[in-house]
């Protein structure tokens, strides 16, 4: 079985009718349950549940403290290449965008790694544009070999690979995997991904499962919010995460909630996901899967990120740059998107402490 079959179960579901039939009593009952099922999770994403956001926040805070304690895990991305063969209308790396393209040499990767590691960070997320031609598996492995010298945990966010290729990366020292489906609505997916291998919806949706089978320790998924109705997209993200956690219990499953940010190209989000919607998604995830990791990136504004510490989020990026060679190289390329929170690692660390939480730099050890 693939998650795609699960997707098909709900593809033609009447989400609007479901939401219109929800009662206040039902929502209150769901918030107070110890375990909730898929449709109860969906109810927490409804406008009706929006009225009870404070109750959801309190429950989410309690569950997060209980399962993760007073800590926030820190990481940062390292962009090593922005060559891309896909035409995704919403992305700055889109092949048809006339931007400066760059791929770091292994020496340059080391320079970047050194500067990042000097900030104290120990968890790194290696990103490439989606081009097997420019960023081959061998190139990624060479990067990993260098990064291992500086970081205790290495995750990848690259084009979808075969299971055996993920296995090779695990053997090379990669322990984490991130892939966003971008949009779960298959029709919209087809409209937004005009050209390139990424047009293959099925191959992408099964990539997290291939990573689990290959033995990736942590597997992180998400939908790019703004491309389609957020209630549905968050729902599919949640049931995808649950599908993976139930089937691969030895993997640590986590979700990201990237909200669209301005980038090169004229595409504007189809759907506005406001701050209240955004936190409702976080709380609904937490109530549905109390142990799931929830990642908050620097796409979000500093003051908004500050307020979310302790409410459900478990992992935050810090000192981020979405440019290839953004830390060490003079001739910088263009970023994938503009970041909102430009504070450095030290500032994020202070912020987390000021909220009564501990910034955790290291939560894995290469074994």
């Amino acid at each position: 079985m693939s998650f795609y079959e699960k997707y098909l179960e709900y593809r033609d579901f009447d989400f609007e009718e479901f939401a219109s039939n929800l009662t206040d009593d039902y929502i209150i009952k769901v918030i107070n349950k110890e375990r909730i099922n898929e449709l109860e999770f969906l109810s927490l994403l409804s406008p009706k549940a929006g009225k009870y956001i404070e109750f959801m926040a309190q429950k989410s805070r309690k569950l997060t403290l209980q399962h993760f304690g007073r800590v926030i895990f820190l990481y940062t991305p390292i962009y090593v290449a922005n060559y891309c063969v896909n035409q995704c209308v919403y992305c700055g790396f889109n092949i048809s965008n006339n931007i400066v393209r760059k791929k770091l040499t292994i020496e340059e990767v080391e320079q970047e790694a050194k500067i990042i590691s000097d900030t104290g960070l120990k968890h790194i997320l290696l990103l490439t544009g989606e081009s097997r031609l420019h960023s081959s598996l061998d190139y990624i492995k060479e990067c990993v070999t260098v990064l291992k010298k500086y970081f205790s945990s290495i995750s990848i966010e690259v084009y979808p690979l075969e299971m055996d290729e993920y296995k090779e990366l695990v053997e090379a020292g990669v322990d984490g995997f991130t892939m966003y489906q971008e949009v779960y609505n298959e029709d919209v997916y087809g409209q937004l991904h005009l050209k390139g291998p990424k047009k293959n919806y099925r191959y992408r949706i099964d990539a997290p499962e291939r990573a689990c089978v290959a033995g990736m320790r942590s597997v992180n998924i998400g939908a790019l919010l703004g491309l389609d109705d957020w209630e549905r997209e968050a729902f599919f993200t949640g049931i995808h995460a649950q599908y993976l956690q139930n089937k691969y219990q030895d993997a640590e499953i986590s979700v990201s909630i990237p909200r669209m940010r301005p980038c090169n190209g004229a595409f504007q989000p189809k759907v506005n996901v406001n701050d209240k919607n955004f936190v409702q998604i976080i709380f609904a995830f937490r109530l549905f899967m109390p142990r799931v990791g929830i990642t908050l990136s620097t796409r979000e504004r500093p003051e908004f990120r500050d307020n979310l510490v302790g409410l459900g989020v478990t992992k935050m990026s810090a000192g981020s740059s979405t440019e290839v060679g953004g830390h060490a190289i003079d001739s910088k390329s263009e970023g994938q998107f503009d970041i909102s929170d430009t504070r450095n690692v030290e500032q994020i660390k202070e912020l987390i402490y000021s909220k009564g939480f501990q910034p955790v730099f290291k939560d894995w050890q290469q074994i």
């Binding site: 403290l65 209980q66 399962h67 993760f68 304690g69 007073r70 800590v71 104290g120 120990k122 320790r217 956690q245 139930n246 219990q249 030895d250 993997a251 640590e252 499953i253 142990r291 402490y353 009564g356 939480f357 501990q358 910034p359 955790v360 730099f361 290291k362 939560d363 894995w364 050890q365 074994i367």
Partner: protein
């Protein structure tokens, strides 16, 4: 009366063991150690940031405490063994708490893999304290494999639900000739006292102390509860009866 707990040839000054994973800062840990009286401190190797001056948790653990690294993150015996060896090589001492968890949903330990890891590490000279789901046969095999104590869970880790496995833990206390340390799930000092009254040799607590509003004070409360529970166990509680037994009984006029 002498009442000492000895594990791995070391006499422990306290029957409260402390976990460190969920505190708001590492800097508060020495204060919690002091208030609680804990002498054995467990730390996940995955969290030890050896290179960092500020964030290295080892710098916050007093020298008179026993450091007990744990194998958090191990999904099978082989990974637990590798983690244990790395910890010893890094200077974290000889004690190891084995935690093998291949279930990220409930975080329940894998007893089978735990026995395998215990066998290997005990032979290598480690003082092995395995975390396990309370099960008599597993506990016997852990003893045979060379465990220095057995650490059954009171409830799923982090749940603060108390001594839900009471009947099974009691069987281990009665049958296994090793210290039984209740690890995980104890949410309140009264529940730690309950485990001690039952005859547990010690308890290990993290979440309940670390996520309380005042971890220093809560650490002290747990320390006192463990002392009280132990004292009660040693004193031998009176029998539980179904009917009240008045000092001036209603049938006193009948004579004896």
């Amino acid at each position: 009366m002498q009442d000492k707990l000895t594990i791995g040839g070391i006499e422990l000054g306290s029957r409260l063991l402390l976990g460190t994973g969920k505190f708001p800062s590492n800097a508060i840990i020495p204060q919690v150690i002091k208030s609680s009286g804990a002498k054995v401190i467990t730390v996940a190797l995955r969290r030890i940031d050896f290179d960092s001056e500020d964030e290295n948790i080892l710098k916050h653990i007093p020298k008179d405490c026993i450091l007990m690294p744990n194998t958090s993150g191990a999904r099978n015996a082989d990974e637990a063994v590798r983690i244990a060896r790395i910890a010893r090589a890094a200077g974290c001492g000889n004690w190891i708490k084995i935690e093998v968890i291949s279930d990220n949903k409930y975080l329940l330990p894998d007893n089978f893999e735990t026995i395998r890891a215990t066998e290997i590490l005990a032979k290598e000279g480690f003082t092995v304290l395995p975390y396990m789901s309370p099960d008599l046969m597993t506990a016997r095999r852990l003893k045979d494999a060379g465990a220095s104590a057995v650490m059954p869970l009171g409830a799923p880790i982090g749940t603060n639900k108390g001594l839900r496995t009471r009947e099974l833990v009691k069987i281990l206390i009665d049958e296994i000739d090793l210290p039984i340390i209740v690890d995980a799930g104890l949410g309140r000092p009264s529940e730690a006292a309950e485990a001690m009254e039952l005859g547990a040799a010690a308890v290990l607590v993290n979440t309940a102390i670390a996520t309380s509003d005042d971890p220093i004070s809560m650490g002290e409360a747990f320390g006192l509860a463990v002392l009280a529970g132990r004292k009660a166990f040693l004193s031998g509680a009176g029998a539980v009866k179904d009917f009240a037994e008045a000092s001036s009984p209603l049938t006193g006029f009948l004579g004896t």
